[in-house]
Symmetry: C2
Subunit: 331 residues, 2 copies
């Protein structure tokens, strides 16, 4: 079924208020969860909301906590997330990075002790909406093998870059695993194989069977050794700069909390807008004009399909599984 964005957002808001979130916080959380589903990232939108509420019930998410600055040097700041809602902490820190960049050209905020930020792309879109380039990443619990290893040792550490563009922002939102766990779940539910190998089976052979990877968590890094290395350094940077925990420490807990994140904003308002627009449009046209591998198919830039989905879902309502909606109504 399809449910209007407004109805969903109102329902989430109502639930959040019942779980003791203050009005402004409930409002933003309901909005971001709804936006993620509107944009087609269902796994980190509505589908994830019941788990978020469960984390609140379990005391992993501190309903009323606010992030606090505890260190800074020049245009780099360190914030403690105090285990507050990951979405609110992340939004706060991207906003803070932009405030720094407004005057300094570039700003960097490192956040420790936070919770899952849900859809990483949200903060790339946030920066782009304000006219800034936003670069951010998070670490996670171990859910991906290090190259050459057998067991999950690295996080899939989503990495986001947002670039503002009047006709529709460019936003890259990619985890270091070849397939997100949400995507693998979708394939598994439909009894389908992945289009490319997504992890190792229990014998150490590459497999495209999502069920195997979902059960053993031996997800494959993008580009094999390359994504493994990138995940390793992103984790380190996040933990070092934020004085937070790296993936290996997070993995020793039963649950995924107390994450480390980085938010970098770059000011481009001082640059010649016409030059920027020309470069962006030429670069997009170059990719759009590429001869497709399969006749009739389109080639997209990062974020392009998100906008198409967004417009559809705003018009027609968000597609929601009956089971998901039932779960939400019961929260």
């Amino acid at each position: 079924m399809r449910i209007s964005t407004q109805e969903i957002q109102e329902k989430l808001y109502e639930i959040l208020i019942n779980y003791n979130f203050r009005k402004e916080k409930a409002q933003i959380l309901a909005q971001i969860f709804t936006e993620s589903s509107t944009d087609g990232i269902y796994s980190h939108g509505l589908d994830r909301f019941p788990r978020f509420i469960q984390n609140v019930k379990d005391g992993l998410v501190e309903v009323d906590a606010d992030p606090e600055k505890f260190g800074s040097f020049g245009n780099v700041e360190q914030w403690n997330g105090n285990l507050g809602p990951g979405i609110l902490n992340a939004r706060h820190c991207m906003k803070r990075a932009m405030e720094i960049a407004e005057k300094a050209g570039i700003g960097c905020v490192a956040l420790s002790n936070t919770n899952h930020w849900m859809r990483g792309g949200s903060y790339g879109w946030q920066a782009a909406e304000e006219g800034f380039i936003g670069i951010c990443w998070t670490n996670t619990a171990p859910n991906m093998v290090a190259w050459g290893g057998k067991q999950p040792a690295l996080g899939n550490n989503p990495f986001i870059i947002g670039i503002p563009r009047p006709e529709g922002h460019i936003v890259l939102d990619m985890a270091m695993s070849q397939f997100s766990f949400g995507k693998m779940q979708s394939y598994a539910m439909e009894g389908m194989k992945l289009p490319y190998p997504g992890g190792w089976d229990n014998k150490g052979v590459l497999t495209s069977d999502p069920k195997v990877i979902l059960s053993n968590e031996r997800a494959l890094p993008i580009g094999y050794w390359k994504g493994s290395g990138l995940s390793f350094v992103l984790d380190l940077l996040a933990a070092l700069l934020s004085k937070g925990d790296p993936t290996c420490r997070i993995g020793r807990r039963g649950d995924e909390y107390g994450l480390s994140q980085i938010f970098i904003a770059l000011n481009i308002k001082w640059l010649d807008r016409e030059y920027l627009d020309n470069i962006i449009e030429e670069t997009i046209q170059n990719v759009h004009g590429s001869e497709p591998l399969k006749e009739g198919e389109n080639i997209f830039y990062p974020g392009e399909r998100t906008i198409i989905t967004r417009i559809d879902n705003q018009r027609l309502g968000i597609p929601v599984h009956n089971e998901t909606w039932r779960k939400i109504l019961n929260l």
Copy 2:
């Protein structure tokens, strides 16, 4: 054969002087080319030197050009490389980013109109040697397909992150293509297949045949659509911030020159060194302690094997193909 690092560096210096490089410039260029080979990155060290000299002869590299600052806002600077030697321009800009970060915590330098920086890792090692985190990337001529496309439309845009560590720096140096062209040439020369698919054949089927990919330049992005998206945004950021050219414009020239690059330095000297060291060692131990997929094999962190190779080559001399050395002696 193996030739001592000293003999190689002296020979390169001599050649560079003959090609009218000033002493200080010849010295640094000879050193960096030699270091790349010492570190095992032969494709961008000695093996590439004859092509560099050819570019000098062809007037693509301006022997005596220095980079010039033409814009800045806060802690972001724009430099014009004036088509000088890519190595010198890149080193200058990473140094400049560190000077900014020394006081401001973070510094960003965008470089336009430069030449191939050879081994990207050089600038990650450079930052780490000075105790800074260094993040940098370059765009390139089109040599990789955009996801869904047939012809090369994106660059493989190497991306580098260096993290200082007293016992040996951590340096990630990765291009966005699954295999570098240098690596594919090595496999092709030995008549071997790539260990994983590295590009598309002329029928649009994934292939592990390096010869096919070397000839059609349809290299596969790491993580398929993911590396394609990352390459796209890295190219845009480099061109936008430096007021330089994106890959699509570079591709319209007959040769690869006039590239755009970004250098970001992060100051970590103000952070608690003991905390940093603990986090780094724990993260390394976590990966080292991972059960290997193949019994008896080691799991490495980014840069670890480089140091092993460096020590070997410093002790035993650099392995050089007779043909390569002959070419160099004839320059």
